[in-house]
């Protein structure tokens, strides 16, 4: 029963591969484009033809590839009767549409794009019908949505096109997403996503708790795709697409995907009450409503679109009935609908193409002007109306027959009446299509004088119409075999007894048909009056509702987003903090806490004083923070007290670092504050301040409680090892420094890189500022008039001359001793930079800058590189990065000293720190110079020793005068 074939996946791939060609061939001309689009289609058809006999014999052709086995997503394909039917339709109509489109599109349209999209769509559609894996099916399913989006929006200059495309994608996409969920559930119930497996688990699935959910979700997808009520509205709007697209997607293929899916899932999902009521009801409603609206549409394509909706409803209803014969009828009608509807769309396109209008009210009498087109259209429309001996008549009869036996909501009459009404409307709009377009008087006000198009354009609809007639005349020969295999695939079991023939005898369906035809004729006769009534009747318009919905969602989302992400970082931070407190608390409550194991250390009075200072200064900072300068002074106090605490608590290294870093930080802030407002305005309302206060207190309390909790409890740490091995393995007695440059030298390496980056960033930003609008603001910067006149006071300059070398000496000392006692490259770097800063403050930036010996960029660069090379040096010894070595050396005049690679590393740290700090200051000072600070050439404002000289000159001048 099953035979594998490599042709199957190739067939699916062909359109995708082919899609590349027209896109690349845009410049090669329209014929080339069309040919390149047709070739893969034809090839695929040939492949299908090769496989067809096998399928027709009742076998299934399969091909399996593993794709994402973890998920159960396999590239498994199978071709059974249903697949064969659909694949044939897709490729066959596809070919006809390609031929038609070649003539339909004008020279201005980018035809390459068109064919690319069309082939993409074709491939996706083909994929759907031969997928043997529902996830794979989903992939193709969504692909059809995407490619149809591109096709509908093909004429991107038309607003209707854009909107129609968006609507189509939104609706079908939404359905597709629902279907994803449904399919996942389905797969989970069946234990596999392979369709062939799922099809064998029908009973299990129907019995599952999740059946209804899965059913609804899958049906949502199918309904959306097949334009079933209440999702029917997107289809008419998709008519903004070029007519070949409408003919292909919206009659023959894509909209049938939903029907296909229902048919495919029929053995699994159908047969329950839920299925019956949901599907048949939706189908019935859609059928009637679609037909009714179609009756009053003036746009030919809109009329056809609603008629399609109606016929899709019919198909859905048939599948929903759940009887095997109904399923057979559905399959048959799929074929029939395809033939006449595609032909009709193409004819409508021809009319539009020739007369430059599709408005039925502006047409009429075309039969004599374009007889060939008229013939085709009339035959196809009659088939649509269900007039014997055309194929539409047969399937409609069979449908009515099925309906007549259905028990729907407690009886057969409601469904019989509704179905008949649907058929009646269908007859009416078909007649109207014929009558108002092709018959009646010839007018003289067509926008463009119509005549029959070139033969190329007529070939496709003509062929389809021939099929309409042929199937009508010889159904048993032409349609029955394929209907049988396809229906067998749908039903998944024994086929019911049936024969396709024109005359079934006098059945209820015949009466219903007669009623429909007569009623339809009556409606057409009374159309003008009805039309007025229709226009006068208020009814919901789907498009505004949909647009309104989308824009309301968009607007609501925008409001939500903009309220949430309103750019108020202070609120983000408040949320962040509050969330942290609450989550921390929640986490805390989930676990117990052992009893404290440590005694508290005593608090000497001096510590008490320090604490008071810290708390008061901190509190005062908060209270007076609007006075920015004062806030800075107070933070200095806080920093001082923190250092004090570090000293007291046995952390001299920390104290050293903290105090030097603070100084440099304060300098940076002062430099920045020079340009910033000196006061912070009072602008946050009381409520906000209270909120922030509560959040802040919560944060403080949380952190304090946390630290207090662990401070009272012991833990054994890894640092015993560091204490033990610092001297032996690291060659230093200052364990903190050995940790920094050796045990955790990598951290330090990272840390200097942070500083280096900071320096570079500041420099880059400064450059950007000076090249941007900020420079204008800087140029206009005004200084307060009352500022002091002495810029570089003599005393400061002289004191600095002595202090700076001494400070440098201290820096060197701190660097050298760092390995054994508090200090190290970082503090040394800061000390030297503070010394330099002193010099800069004393004699001014420009003067001092001119005398600097090394470029700061270079220092950063060298620092990072030296540290890195020191670390990499260990590679030479085959050791890992940053492995240190040290030794003690004695060079005669000096004391015995230690040389450690760690010191070299520390030197890298030193250089980077120095370079980074100086580069930061340089960057800030350059802004100030830009703001109009003058550049001084002398180290001090006025060198009084020049007085002597001046006096001498003055004397000389006096003498000269004399």
């Amino acid at each position: 029963m099953v035979s594998a074939s490599g042709l199957l996946p190739v067939m699916v791939l062909l359109p995708f591969i082919g899609a590349l060609a027209p896109g690349l061939m845009i410049r090669a001309g329209r014929n080339a484009c069309a040919t390149f689009a047709a070739v893969p289609t034809i090839l695929a058809l040939v492949f299908l033809g090769v496989m067809a006999p096998d399928v027709m014999a009742g076998n299934t052709v399969t091909a399996q590839f593993s794709w994402l086995p973890q998920l159960g997503l396999n590239a498994n394909f199978f071709l059974d009767g249903l697949g064969l039917l659909f694949a044939g339709m897709i490729l066959g109509v596809g070919l006809l549409v390609i031929i038609y489109a070649r003539f339909y599109l004008s020279g201005d349209d980018p035809m390459g794009q068109f064919f690319t999209y069309l082939l993409l769509f074709q491939g996706a559609m083909l994929g759907i019908v031969v997928s043997d894996n529902i996830l794979l099916l989903l992939v193709f399913w969504e692909l059809t949505s995407l490619s149809s989006f591109l096709l509908i929006g093909y004429w991107k200059h038309l607003p209707e096109g854009r909107q129609g495309a968006r609507m189509a994608l939104a609706v079908t996409g939404a359905g597709g997403l629902a279907m994803i969920a449904g399919m996942l559930i389905l797969g989970n119930i069946a234990g596999s996503y392979d369709l062939s497996v799922i099809l064998q688990h029908g009973d299990e699935i129907r019995a599952s708790d999740h059946y209804l959910t899965a059913l609804i979700l899958i049906l949502l997808g199918a309904f959306a795709k097949s334009a079933q009520f209440p999702f029917h509205f997107w289809l008419p709007h998709a008519m903004a697409a070029p007519t070949p697209v409408s003919a292909y997607l919206h009659s023959a293929t894509m909209v049938k995907a939903g029907v296909f899916l229902m048919a495919r899932m029929w053995p699994v999902l159908a047969g329950t009450e839920a299925w019956f009521y949901i599907v048949s009801t939706v189908g019935l409603i859609t059928m009637v409503i679609g037909a009714l609206i179609a009756l009053f549409k003036d746009d030919l394509k809109a009329l056809l679109a609603y008629s399609t909706v109606s016929h899709l409803g019919l198909l859905t209803m048939l599948l929903g009935l759940g009887t095997r014969l109904a399923a057979v009828v559905a399959v048959f009608h799929i074929i029939n609908h395809l033939t006449f509807k595609a032909a009709l769309f193409m004819s409508a396109g021809i009319v539009d193409h020739e007369a430059h209008t599709r408005d039925i009210k502006r047409l009429g009498g075309l039969a004599s002007l374009m007889p060939a087109t008229a013939t085709i259209a009339v035959v196809a429309a009659l088939s649509m109306a269900g007039i014997p001996p055309l194929n539409g008549f047969m399937s409609k009869e069979m449908m009515l027959e099925e309906v007549a036996h259905a028990d729907w909501f407690g009886g057969e009459w409601p469904i019989i009446i509704l179905a008949t009404v649907g058929a009646l409307f269908s007859v009416a709009y078909s007649f109207r299509f014929i009558g108002h377009t092709f018959f009646g008087p010839v007018r003289d006000d067509y926008p463009h004088h119509p005549h029959d198009p070139p033969v190329g354009m007529l070939i496709s609809p003509a062929l389809l119409t021939v099929m309409v007639v042929a199937i009508g005349l010889a159904p048993g020969l032409l349609a029955e075999p394929i209907v049988r295999v396809a229906s067998a695939a749908v039903i998944g079991g024994e086929l019911p007894e049936f024969h396709l023939k024109l005359w079934h005898g006098v059945t209820p369906a015949l009466f219903m048909s007669i009623v429909a035809v007569l009623g339809g004729a009556l409606f057409l006769w009374q159309h003008k009056r009805l039309d007025r009534a229709w226009i006068a009747t208020p009814r919901p318009e789907a498009k505004p509702i949909f647009d309104g919905l989308v824009s309301r969602v968009a607007l609501g989302s925008r409001r939500l987003t903009e309220v949430a992400h309103n750019g108020a970082i202070s609120r983000y931070l408040a949320i962040f903090t509050a969330a942290t407190i609450l989550l921390g608390l929640a986490a805390y409550r989930g676990g117990g806490l052992a009893a404290p194991t440590r005694e508290m250390l005593p608090v000497p009075p001096l510590v008490g004083i320090g604490f008071v200072l810290l708390v008061v200064a901190t509190g005062a900072t908060v209270l007076i923070h609007r006075n920015r300068f004062l806030a800075l002074i107070l933070t200095s106090v806080v920093g001082l007290m923190v250092s004090f605490g570090f000293v007291y608590l046995s952390a001299p290294d920390l104290a050293l670092t903290q105090i030097t870093v603070d100084t440099v930080t304060v300098m940076l802030m002062l430099l920045a504050l020079h340009f910033l407002p000196k006061e912070t305005p009072r602008e946050s309302p009381m409520g906000l301040r209270i909120r922030d206060g509560i959040v802040a207190l919560g944060a403080g309390a949380g952190v304090a409680a946390l630290s207090f909790t662990f401070l009272l409890r012991d833990v054994s740490t890894i640092s015993d090892y560091h204490l033990e091995n610092s001297y032996k393995g690291g060659g230093g007695t200052n364990v903190v420094n050995v940790i920094l440059v050796d045990f955790r030298g990598y951290d330090t390496y990272g840390e200097i890189i942070v500083l280096g980056i900071a320096g570079l960033t500041l420099f880059a930003l400064m450059e950007a500022l000076l090249n941007g609008p900020a420079s204008r603001r800087l140029r206009n910067f005004t200084f307060p008039p009352d500022r002091s006149r002495d810029r570089h006071p003599l005393m400061m300059v002289i004191a600095t001359r002595v202090m700076m070398p001494i400070a440098a000496m201290v820096g060197v000392y701190i660097f050298i001793r760092g390995h054994n006692l508090p200090g190290g490259g970082f503090v040394a770097g800061l000390v030297i930079s503070i010394a330099l800063l002193m010099q800069y403050m004393a004699s001014g930036f420009a003067w001092a800058q001119e005398r600097k010996r090394f470029a700061y960029h270079a220092m950063i660069g060298w620092g990072v590189v030296i540290a890195g090379l020191t670390g990499a040096g260990a590679w030479l010894a085959g050791e890992p990065f940053l492995t240190s070595a040290f030794g003690y050396f004695k060079v005669p005049p000096f004391e015995e000293f230690e040389l450690a690679t760690a010191s070299l590393f520390d030197f890298g740290v030193f250089l980077t720190v120095l370079g980074a700090v100086m580069l930061m200051l340089y960057s800030l000072s350059r802004l100030a110079r830009y703001a109009g600070e003058t550049v001084n050439e002398e180290p001090m404002d006025y060198d009084p020793s020049r007085r002597v000289e001046v006096a001498r000159i003055e004397e000389q001048e006096k003498k000269d005068e004399a």
């Binding site: 968009a554 309103n566 750019g567 108020a568 970082i569 202070s570 609120r571 931070l573 608090v603 604490f611 901190t618 900072t621 923070h625 609007r626 920015r628 806030a631 933070t635 605490g645 608590l649 046995s650 952390a651 290294d653 920390l654 670092t657 903290q658 870093v661 930080t665 940076l668 802030m669 920045a672 910033l676 912070t680 922030d692 207190l697 944060a699 403080g700 304090a704 946390l706 630290s707 401070l711 640092s719 204490l723 610092s726 007695t733 903190v736 940790i739 955790r744 951290d747 840390e751 200097i752 500083l755 900071a758 960033t761 500022l769 609008p773 603001r777 800087l778 006692l821 930061m920 960057s923």
Partner: protein, 115 residues
């Protein structure tokens, strides 16, 4: 002593947090400075407190304070220095470019919703 340290951390955190939540860049910077004091002391205290036993090896001392958190805090101090420097200049840059030093921004760009 433990209580004093914990309270100090708490006070610094609370003050820092409050200032970080202000609307102008400068108080935020000051607040972050206070916050970094708080975190430094916090991390430091994770090695528990000890008085008068600095982690410098010598023959007479038998106990030392935990050196590792100190090393971590040193790293943290340096890093936060670099960060603060960048923050200060960015704040200054933002002020110079826009004329105010508010930290909150409003997006005034209008785009059409749909058409």
């Amino acid at each position: 002593m433990e209580l004093v340290v914990a309270l100090s951390i708490g006070v610094l955190t609370a003050a820092g947090t409050y200032l970080v939540l202000r609307l102008r860049a400068f108080p935020v910077i000051v607040g972050l400075t206070l916050l970094s004091y708080a975190t430094n002391v916090f991390v430091f205290s994770s090695g528990r407190l000890a008085v008068g036993v600095p982690p410098v090896l010598n023959d007479s001392a038998s106990t030392y304070t935990d050196p590792l958190p100190q090393a971590l805090v040193l790293t943290a101090i340096v890093i936060s220095f670099g960060m603060t420097a960048v923050l200060v200049l960015i704040a200054l840059g933002a002020f110079l470019e826009s004329g105010d030093d508010q930290v909150n921004v409003e997006d005034k760009t209008t785009g059409e919703g749909d058409a």
